[in-house]
Structure formats: structure tokens, C-alpha cells
């Protein structure tokens, strides 16, 4: 009997539940999709070091899943509370008829169970479908060839989804039972009669608060863009963040009063058609949801920034590698380790001895046949001395620079390279070569943050004195370039000097760069594996290879992208769902209001237009403010991530927009359609 009642209730109110269902199903599906990535990566053809990154990624994703389940849990509780409120009268009738609270709880319990089962079932099906698409994305991310399309189903992800959502549903049931037991019949019967008091804010106060909010936001914007140099330590980033949060809140607090004030002073617009009604509706809606609107706005802001940055990191990381790692392998070895340094750092005597010989010799010692595997070999030394530190080469600019960038390492020794050595490297790398007079030097760098420092010193014609001889800058600009292969622009700068400027007594590091004697990726991988199998424990040899760099950056890119996507989508769903539920929960009040308008003679077109405007502004306002925030947020993210390169921002912003349109727009459309149905004339 109770089961029948529950089932009928659900069927009857399926339209009211549409948003709730939609959200649950999406939540379940996304939860499954991101937890099922593990089973898809197993099928990929990738190297073992990529697997390590995948492992890390899967661990992080499951960590993020816990956080996500909290967000979804809160969202679902919030949604179920809204639905409960709408049914107060129904519960009151049950109670009047003499049904015990326990039985009402039981009805709700059965309903939640039904909803849970249906949403889990449909959501899992959708998730399994979507995860097939996801496997294409996964393969693409890790640049692995999908040998063949395989249908994948992850049992563990399925169990995990059932487990997490099961817990959420149990919590909802407890919550509902508790709130039923607290119900008073009189409150339930009269709950629809509460007459709304229009709490109007003082317009002058509103304007004042709006100005304060604008100033706070403006200053926060300034701090993260033009004024970024003022942020001198990491914890100072909380200043613009704090200002942004408080500013957003105050903005929404003042917005309804301000909006009303502005529009109502434009009398011709205000008193046109249903405009004054619509504006008032929006005003009262914003007024009652200042806190959630601000939260939603901030969530949208985070979503936009996370999505567009995550997607662009992946893009730029992989696109930089070809130019930043132009050769297959680079060996480096620090030379001439002193006895005290050996003891300090805990190296063995064998290793210290190894530091006195060249890389080529070491390779021979450990059994690697360089002639058989390597081609285009360049072997040279770089030089450094503790007599010339960064602070010295900045010259008169040092004091100023230290104040401006206190976190930079000014007390490290500068590196010198012979011009003939550098030109050989430059030719191999495809970089600009350099010619020097006998008393000149050139600075080579490509790290964006360091270039202005270096150039200021060059502009001041700062001389350097090396082994008793003085050199002056050849140019005021730094030459773009690097020695070490890497995935990013991280060369802070080294000095190219005439060949006779340095001598072996100050040699610091031996470098050997080369390509593999191989034509295909398979052959290269083979050589690399041979190298990896060598025992280098008794040496101080370091190596970085193009393949490893690619794998690491692809892996890191994928990691960031997946976590960004996961969080971004969940945030997006949460904020859109809260807005939709809020709007729909008011539709019963709105229904009466629209009925009055209809009796006054407003036609359907007019009413639908007013409804559309109302919902569009309600949805659009937080999005608009989030977008304004995001412009500055993305600029800031770009600055922070500038080492990754930021060449491809536009495609990722387009991708973000597509996500926004689909999810946020979907919720908007659903809300509008449901509201339209609810206010329909009968």
C-alpha cells in the first residue's frame, strides 16, 4: 500500500523531479567515468614510465573523488530538502488523515530508495556509455595508439559508485526521517500562506556597498595582473583571493537594490510591458539568495579558470617539446668533486673518482658503446666559479632587483660557456649562433621571468671580471636559447664568452648531447631501454632523454587535464543545479503571480518572455560576474604557468565555453521548460 503510494507520487511528480533526476544521473555518470579511467589505461600501449604517471593520476583521481562525493552529497541533500518543502501540504493531508509520522517517513524512504535505484541504474548506463568516449580521450592524451576499439567496463568503478552513492542516499534517508519527526501540522498547513515581506535595502547604502565592492574587486584584479610585482611572497596571493571573495559577496548583496534603483529610474523602460514585474522578481530572488549566488559565482569562476588552464597546459606542454628537446639524449656530470663536498653529500669515493673523468670515459666504463648507438655527438664543458655570483653580474641593478624579487636565488654561481662550444650546440638545436670580440660577452636565456632582469643589467653595460680579465656586454638584449633539453623554458641565463676566457681549473660540468642512431620510435625506445639497464650507481652521471621528457609532460598534462575536467564538471553541475532548484522551488509562488498577470490580460507570449527574462538573468548574472573574474583569473593563471608556455589559450577557452553551454545551458533550458509547464493555464 505504502509502496504503491510512493510509486504513484513519483510518477505524478516526475516533472517536478526532472532536475533532481537529471542531476543525480549526471553525478553518478561522471563519478563512474572518472573512476573507470583505470580500466581503460590498462589496455594502452605505453612505456612503463608512463604507467607510473598513470598510477599517480589514478591515485589522485580517487582522492579527488572523495572530495567530489562530498560536494555531490551536499548538493543532493540540498535538492531533497527543496523537494520536501514543496510537498508540505501533501504531508499535512497524510497527517490529518491520521497517518503516523513513522509511516510518512517510510513513504519517503521508499521514494528515496526508488529514486536512488533508478538514478543509479540510468546513471551507470550513461556512465558506461560515456566512458567509451572517454577511452578515446585517454588514448589521445597519452598519445598511445588504440590498437583496436574495446568495450570496457570497470567493475571496481561500478562498485565504488554504488558504494559512495549508497552512503549518500542513506544519509538523505536519515535526514528526511529527522525532519519529518520535527514537523508540526499547523506549520505544514499554513506553509504556503506565508506572505512575503519585501525586505528592501536602502538604495544609498546599496550604492555605497556597490562602490566598495567594485573597488575591492578592481584592486584584486589589479593585484593579479598589472600589479603582480607587488605580490612578493606566496602567501600574499591570499590578499586578492580574499578581496575577490568578499567583493563578490558584497556585489551580490548590493546588486538587487542597485539594479532596482537604476532600472526604476528609467521610467520608460521600467513601466513597459511586464518589465517592472520581472525586475522586481529578479530583485527579490537575488535578495533571498545573496550567499548562494556568490558561492555559485565563485564556483563558476574556479570552473572556468581550471578548465581553460588545465586544457591549455596540456596543449602547450606537448607542443613545446619538439623545440625544447631537439636531441634524443643529454648526459651531464658535475666535475672535480672536492673531498669535503663528497662527505657532505654522502657520495662514495668511487663516485668522487668518477667526477674527474669525462662522460665518454664513464660510458665506456659502464659498458655503453657510444659509437654503436649515438650520432651527432657534442662533448664540452661549462665553467663556473664562486667568485662570480648572480648578484655580481647584475652589477648596479642588484639592490633594486633584490627588493623587487626577493625570492630569486641571487647567490648562485653563474655559468660560462665557450663561444665555439655554444655555436656547435646552437647549430644542432637550430638556434641563433654568436660571434664575439675578445672582450665581449652575451647572455643566453629563455625563462620569461629572468629575461627582464638580465636585460636591465645588460642595458647598464655591467662589466664582469673573469680570471682577471674584464668583459662587457655585446648587446642589450639576451639571446634566446638553452643548453639543457627540457619540457619548458627554464633557462635562467648563462654567459657565452670568448674561448680563451675560461680555463680547465674552473670547469664545473661536462655535457654530452647526442641523437640515437635510430629511425623509428621503436628503435629509439630500444636504445633507451639499453641505457636504462646499465648500472650507473658508481658514477655521478645524469641523463635526460627526449622520450622521458615527453612521457613526463604528457603524463603531467593528462593528470592536470583529467583532474581539471573532473572538478570543473562537478562544480558546474552543482552550481547550475542549485540555481535550477531555487528557481523551481519558487515556481509555486510564481504560478499565482502569473495567474494574476493572465487575468490582467497579459498574453502567453508576454508571460513567457517575462519568465524567460527572469530565469535568464538569474542564471546569467553569476555567470557574467564569474566571466569578468575569469578574464583576470586566466591572465593570472597564465602568468603563474608561463613556464609551461601559453601559446594555445584560445582553443581551451573554446572548449571551456562548450562545456559551459552544454551543462549550464542545459540546466537553464530544463529550468525554463519546467517553469513554463508549471505556470501553464489549466
Amino acid at each position: 500500500m505504502l509502496f504503491k503510494l510512493s510509486a504513484k507520487n513519483m510518477k505524478k511528480s516526475i516533472k517536478d523531479y526532472a532536475i533532481y533526476f537529471f542531476t543525480l544521473i549526471l553525478g553518478v555518470a561522471i563519478f563512474y567515468v572518472f573512476n573507470a579511467i583505470e580500466s581503460q589505461t590498462v589496455l594502452l600501449n605505453v612505456t612503463s614510465s608512463t604507467y607510473e604517471i598513470i598510477d599517480l593520476m589514478i591515485n589522485m583521481l580517487s582522492g579527488v573523488s572523495v572530495f567530489v562525493s562530498f560536494i555531490l552529497g551536499f548538493l543532493i541533500i540540498y535538492a531533497s530538502r527543496f523537494l520536501m518543502k514543496r510537498r508540505n501540504k501533501e504531508f499535512a493531508i497524510y497527517m490529518l488523515l491520521g497517518m503516523s509520522k513513522r509511516k510518512i517517513s517510510l513513504i519517503l524512504l521508499i521514494e528515496t530508495l526508488l529514486i536512488g535505484l533508478v538514478s543509479l541504474g540510468v546513471g551507470l548506463l550513461l556512465g558506461i556509455g560515456l566512458s567509451q568516449l572517454m577511452s578515446l580521450l585517454v588514448a589521445n592524451m597519452f598519445e598511445a595508439d588504440m590498437t583496436s576499439f574495446m568495450f570496457t567496463f570497470s567493475l571496481s568503478a561500478c562498485y565504488k559508485t554504488l558504494f559512495y552513492f549508497g552512503i549518500m542516499y542513506v544519509i538523505i534517508m536519515i535526514f528526511q526521517t529527522l525532519s519529518i519527526s520535527r514537523y508540526q501540522l499547523i506549520d505544514l498547513l499554513q506553509s504556503h500562506k506565508r506572505s512575503e515581506k519585501v525586505k528592501l535595502k536602502n538604495p544609498i547604502l546599496s550604492i555605497l556597498v556597490f562602490i566598495i565592492a567594485s573597488c575591492m574587486l578592481g584592486y584584486a584584479y589589479y593585484l593579479v595582473t598589472i600589479g603582480i610585482d607587488r605580490l612578493q611572497s606566496v602567501d600574499q596571493i591570499f590578499i586578492p583571493i580574499g578581496l575577490g571573495i568578499v567583493g563578490t559577496f558584497l556585489l551580490f548583496w548590493s546588486l538587487s537594490g542597485l539594479l532596482l534603483k537604476i532600472v526604476s529610474s528609467m521610467k520608460k523602460i521600467y513601466y513597459k510591458k511586464l518589465n517592472c514585474f520581472t525586475i522586481r522578481q529578479i530583485g527579490s530572488e537575488i535578495n533571498t539568495t545573496v550567499f548562494s549566488m556568490s558561492m555559485i559565482c565563485l564556483m563558476l569562476f574556479v570552473t572556468i579558470c581550471v578548465l581553460s588552464s588545465a586544457l591549455s597546459i596540456k596543449n602547450s606542454m606537448t607542443s613545446n617539446i619538439e623545440s625544447l628537446a631537439p636531441v634524443d639524449i643529454e648526459f651531464t656530470k658535475n666535475l672535480d668533486m672536492t673531498e669535503t663536498y663528497r662527505e657532505e653529500m654522502g657520495y662514495t669515493e668511487e663516485q668522487r673518482e668518477d667526477s674527474t673523468i669525462s662522460i665518454a670515459e664513464t660510458l665506456g666504463n659502464i659498458g655503453f658503446d657510444a659509437d654503436q648507438y649515438l650520432t651527432d655527438v657534442l662533448d664540452f664543458n661549462v665553467y663556473a666559479t664562486n667568485d662570480i655570483l648572480v648578484s655580481d653580474t647584475l652589477g648596479s641593478y642588484y639592490e633594486e632587483a633584490k627588493q623587487k624579487y626577493p625570492s630569486l636565488a641571487f647567490d648562485s654561481a653563474e655559468t660560462f660557456v665557450r663561444v665555439s662550444d655554444y655555436n656547435k650546440v646552437a647549430e644542432l638545436y637550430g638556434l641563433e649562433t654568436i660571434t664575439l670580440d675578445e672582450n665581449q660577452y652575451v647572455v643566453v636565456a629563455d625563462f620569461d621571468q629572468w629575461i627582464p632582469l638580465r636585460e636591465e643589467a645588460l642595458r647598464r653595460k655591467t662589466p664582469i671580471t673573469l680570471l682577471g680579465k674584464t668583459y662587457v656586454p655585446k648587446e642589450e638584449k639576451v639571446t634566446k636559447g638553452f643548453l639543457h633539453i627540457s619540457s619548458n623554458h627554464i633557462n635562467m641565463g648563462f654567459f657565452v664568452v670568448p674561448d680563451d676566457a675560461v680555463e680547465e681549473s674552473i670547469r664545473q660540468q661536462n655535457i654530452l648531447i647526442a641523437n640515437y642512431k635510430a629511425n623509428s620510435k621503436e628503435e629509439k625506445t630500444k636504445i633507451e631501454n639499453t641505457l636504462l639497464s646499465l648500472d650507473a650507481s658508481k658514477t655521478v652521471l645524469n641523463a635526460s632523454s627526449k622520450l622521458a621528457i615527453i612521457e613526463a609532460s604528457v603524463g603531467l598534462g593528462a593528470l592536470v587535464t583529467f583532474i581539471g575536467l573532473y572538478l570543473g564538471i562537478v562544480f558546474l553541475i552543482s552550481s547550475a543545479a542549485i540555481l535550477a532548484l531555487k528557481e523551481l522551488s519558487e515556481s509555486s509562488d510564481n504560478k499565482e503571480r502569473f495567474q494574476v498577470l493572465r487575468k490582467l490580460g497579459a498574453d502567453t507570449k508576454m508571460i513567457h518572455r517575462a519568465l524567460w527574462m527572469q530565469i535568464a538573468i538569474f542564471f546569467g548574472l553569476p555567470l557574467l560576474i564569474a566571466m569578468i573574474h575569469s578574464i583576470f583569473g586566466i591572465i593570472f593563471c597564465n602568468y603563474i604557468l608561463s613556464t609551461f608556455g601559453n601559446e594555445q589559450l584560445l582553443p581551451s577557452i573554446i572548449m571551456t565555453a562548450i562545456f559551459l553551454i552544454f551543462i549550464y545551458g542545459g540546466y537553464f533550458y530544463l529550468t525554463y521548460t519546467c517553469s513554463k509547464n508549471m505556470i501553464k493555464e489549466r
Binding site: 520608460k268 513601466y271 517592472c276 498577470l597 498574453d603
Partner: protein, 255 residues
């Protein structure tokens, strides 16, 4: 005088063939321009159904309703809205003011729906506010007003468009006797002064006594009709009470 409303053999049935309810059973009457007519009847007599049919909210089963020679039972949906907007004014028992708007804005809606420019609107609102004695409350919200004030604001909203016919459904139903008297005096004044045609449904003899003519309905049929003629309000009230008594105590809550 010209009849502004002509009701001719209107019937309204509810239910199926096996259990038919005749809410309105062959009713015919006319209302002249500038007349103030009250329809009286007990709960369930069909008076509200009749009003709903005239206001085009409900549809008749058979018969015709003419407003200014236009047969509104034949109108299409879009035309109906236009008709309702331009020719009718509504006053409800529970006021139906929009709680988010001020009195001024509530009244303005009726005009802005008809695309009346702001300047003219402002002038007309101030004018009618004076007539209904609500100038002081124009800036207030419904929750800040008394019941009587609310009903007068609602009346202003109904009458500001100069409708051919104002339909009032139990306008005094939610008011105390003092507010009710004040409202009815305003109705009588507007009817007198601006020649507004008012059709009012009520079950209250006191309210009905302000009208020029009272039509009694019982079980969906016209039972009796009274004209005020030269009587004063007190005498007319007594005459109404006599009919109510005759109706058989169904209207025992009339006093």
C-alpha cells in the same frame, strides 16, 4: 440605455452524462451601460461560475454572451486575451495583488500591458488614486497595507484601463465592515461619476444594497430580480433581506 452585457440562454454543465450537474441552467439577462448590478446567491448557486464565463476564464456549454455586441463565446484564444485586457476589469475577493510590487506598480501593470506610455500612465494612476483615496499608499507594498487599502488598490488596477465592464467577485469577502463600506461607497461614486459599469457577485445583502439592481440566483437559475429605483439604501437593503428570507435561509449567513 445601451446594454453593455447581454447574456442569452447560457448553460454550463459539469460532469458526464450519468451524473450531470447544471451549474448554470438557462440564464438570460442584460446589463446596461453605467449600471451597478449585484448577483446574489448562496454557495453553489452558480454565481461564480457565471462570472467566470463572462470573464472568459471558463467556457459556456451553450448560449451566448455579448459584450458591446461582440459574442465572446466565439472568440479565439489570442482574441480572448486582447478582449480581457481591453474590455474587462477584475476585482477578486483575495485582492490578487502582486506582493513584490508597490501599489503604484501594481496599478501600472494593467496599463503597461496595453503599452500605454509612461507619462500618460503616471497621470492616470494619480487621478484614479485620488478617486479611490489611495494616494498615500501608492509607494507601499501589499504587506504594509490594510485589507481595505489593498482592495481599493486592486479596484484601481481594475478600473484604470476604463474597461467596458468591471467584474467583482466577492470584493468585500475579506474585509471588515468599515473597510467594506468605504470600498462600496467608492464603487457607487465611480459608478455615478465615471459611469463605470460594475457587475458584482456577492452573498452579502449589505454589499448588494449598494447596487442599482440585484439579481438572485438559486440552483443555476434566476430566482428573482430587484431594482433600487427611488428607494434609499436602507429601504433597498430591507427589500433584499425579504427576498433572502424567501430564498429559504440558504443565505442565512447574509447578515
Amino acid at each position: 440605455m445601451e446594454p453593455i452585457l447581454k447574456i442569452s440562454h447560457v448553460e454550463k454543465y459539469y460532469g458526464s452524462r450519468s451524473s450531470l450537474t447544471k451549474a448554470i441552467d438557462d440564464i438570460s439577462f442584460t446589463v446596461d451601460q453605467g449600471e451597478f448590478v449585484a448577483i446574489m446567491g448562496a454557495s453553489g448557486s452558480g454565481k461564480t461560475t457565471l462570472l467566470n464565463c463572462i470573464s472568459t476564464i471558463d467556457k459556456v456549454t451553450s448560449g451566448h454572451i455579448y459584450v458591446a455586441d461582440m459574442d465572446i463565446t466565439k472568440l479565439k484564444k489570442e482574441k480572448l486575451t486582447k478582449f480581457r485586457r481591453e474590455e474587462l476589469g477584475f476585482i477578486f475577493q483575495d485582492f490578487n495583488l502582486l506582493d513584490t510590487l508597490t501599489a503604484y506598480e501594481n496599478i501600472s501593470l494593467a496599463l503597461s500591458i496595453q503599452n500605454v506610455p509612461y507619462k500618460e500612465m503616471d497621470q492616470r494612476i494619480k487621478e484614479i488614486a485620488k478617486k479611490l483615496d489611495i494616494t498615500d499608499v501608492l509607494k507601499k507594498y501589499p504587506y504594509q497595507m490594510s485589507g481595505g487599502q489593498k482592495q481599493r488598490v486592486a479596484s484601481a488596477r481594475a478600473m484604470i484601463t476604463n474597461p467596458k465592464l468591471v467584474l467583482a467577485d466577492e470584493p468585500t469577502g475579506a474585509l471588515d465592515s468599515k473597510s467594506a463600506r468605504m470600498l462600496l461607497e467608492r464603487f457607487a461614486y465611480l459608478n455615478d461619476e465615471a459611469k463605470t459599469t460594475i457587475l458584482m457577485v456577492t452573498h452579502d445583502a449589505f454589499t448588494a444594497s449598494y447596487a442599482d439592481r440585484v439579481i438572485f440566483i438559486k440552483d443555476g437559475k434566476i430566482f428573482h430580480e430587484l431594482r433600487k429605483g427611488k428607494q434609499n439604501r436602507k429601504e433597498f437593503f430591507d427589500a433584499i433581506i425579504d427576498v433572502v428570507t424567501l430564498l429559504g435561509g440558504d443565505l442565512s449567513d447574509a447578515l
